[in-house]
Amino acid sequence: MLCENCKKNTATTYFKQTVNGKTREVFLCSECAAKLGLGDSFSNFGNFGFGLSAMSDLLGAFSAPASAKCPTCGITLNEVSRSGTMGCADCYDTFRDYLRRLLPRISGNKIHNGKVPHAAEKNEEKEIPALKKRLEEAIKTENFEEATVLRDKIRELEAKKNSEGGDAK
């Protein structure tokens, strides 16, 4: 079997983790395992942001390698998970898989509810189609909790639209 990270070398290391009844497995070559901090020694795990175990962090972020870099500010996923902070606004897009796993531990699977800046307000017209697109994506990635929230938000906006010019905010 080939390593799932580099897809070149033979996989020699196997990791398995079960979270909420879902089991994830990863097969790595020794080189990639070391690179991801899953080598022989567990001593380099350090303190990952928000007290997440290094294992779940790495497995969670596996779809983006730890060396993935934000094209705007240059920060790597490794640095993000170690410091617990993002480098710029675009990091939220670059590291979205990491966030998808991190955020439920902080605030549950929620989306923004509250004040919106002027610049974003102008887009309100386009909000429903954009939310529908995100809903499709959430269903595709089996992120059902987020899908439920999005569905409710769409319903709420449609109801508001139908009742014509409800109160702002």
Binding site: F50, T72, C73, G74, I75, S83, G84, T85, M86, G87, C88, A89, Y92, L99, L102, L103, I106, S107, G108, K110, I111, H112, N113, G114, K115, V116, P117, H118, A119, A120, N123, E127, A130, L131, R134, V149
Partner: protein, 334 residues
């Protein structure tokens, strides 16, 4: 959405209220990835922008020109965070004249807009801070996403970027060892309680900061309503814990003696002052002593080490303890 049954807060125990909003400008990377040059540019840009703000006059304090004693004193006043002063090349503080409104530039986020007031006043503070936020929003473009709300350096501040907090004086709950239970139970509903000034020991001031733990998926008004509700509950528990305590002459005597020490002491350490402050404040809250509580709270800040250093040259701890005693004596005697 304003409730008809607003929680009634026993305001005697409320020391102060605070709100901060975390905001970032879209065109710059977050402060940790920001070059010193870009940070300097941003400081000037925001300074110019806030000069025009019609509802408040701000003093501009470039932190690179602020001494460590001044920064320490501002930290004790909760105007800046401890690390903020150490990174002077990038940071600046815009401070409103009455210190109610302030803006930290390049703390963890580009902007930390803050409002502070004595007593329980979250709604009023939010009105003021929101007005300032609207003004800045009209001049710059904030980093924002429909899904995550205001984008912040640390994902714990996503959403509204609001952190509302109330400082409470809880001597009876502390003395009865009930604070841990309070901290645990409110954490279940997204509220964090943090002890200030050496809690957990008998020598504490029994002051606690109660704040929302996260800001994603919960609106500003919901956050404030939740916090008010929890604060009301905690104050109610404190009130219950105080019941039947003061008919006991020994308990009253302890408080009067503390007042006596403050009126006559010649040397006063920081730790002793914190303990005595708490006892005298409790006596005033319970109507045993007639004291101006907000003035006592201001004195508490003035007696912190850096604030004392600010008003005199006394470098040694002995001299500071002596000056602290003199200051307290003067105030207590009126």
């Amino acid at each position: 959405m304003s409730e008809t049954n607003l929680p009634v807060i026993d305001s005697r125990m409320v020391v102060s209220s605070r709100i901060r909003l975390a905001r970032n400008l879209k065109k710059y990377p977050f402060p940790s990835r920001l070059s010193e040059e870009a940070a300097r540019e941003m400081k000037l840009e925001l300074h110019d922008l806030l000069k025009e703000y019609p509802h408040e006059t701000f003093d501009f304090l470039d932190m690179k020109n602020v001494t460590s004693v001044q920064a320490g004193a501002m930290t004790e006043e909760h105007l800046i965070s401890p690390d903020f002063g150490r990174n002077g090349e990038k940071t600046a503080l815009l401070l409103g004249r009455e210190k109610t409104l302030s803006v930290m530039i390049n703390e963890e986020d580009h902007l930390r807009i803050q409002a502070m007031g004595f007593g329980s006043c979250l709604e009023d503070l939010y009105r003021r801070i929101n007005e300032l936020d609207d003004y800045i929003d009209g001049k710059v473009e904030y980093a924002f996403s429909d899904k995550y709300g205001y984008l912040t350096s640390c994902p714990t501040n996503l959403g509204t970027g609001i952190r509302a907090s109330v400082m409470l004086h809880l001597p009876a709950l502390t003395r009865r060892g009930l604070m841990e239970r309070v901290i645990h139970s409110v954490s279940q509903v997204g509220i964090t309680v943090r002890g200030l000034y050496g809690e957990g020991t008998q020598a504490g001031a029994c002051l606690y900061q109660v704040s929302n733990s996260y800001s994603l998926g919960i609106s500003e008004s919901e956050t404030i309503a939740l916090l008010n509700r929890i604060v009301a509950q905690i104050c109610e528990s404190e009130k219950k814990a105080r019941e039947n305590q003061f008919p006991d002459l020994r308990a009253r005597d302890e408080l009067y003696r503390s007042y006596g020490i403050l009126k006559e002491c010649r040397m006063l350490t920081s730790a002793e002052f914190r303990t005595l402050y708490s006892k005298v404040r409790l006596a005033a809250e319970e109507g045993l002593l007639e004291l101006d509580i907000p003035a006592l709270d201001r004195l508490f800040i003035e007696c912190q080490p850096y604030n004392l250093m600010l008003t005199g040259d006394s470098e040694s701890e002995n001299e500071r303890d002596q000056r602290r005693a003199t200051l307290v004596r003067e105030r207590m005697r009126g």
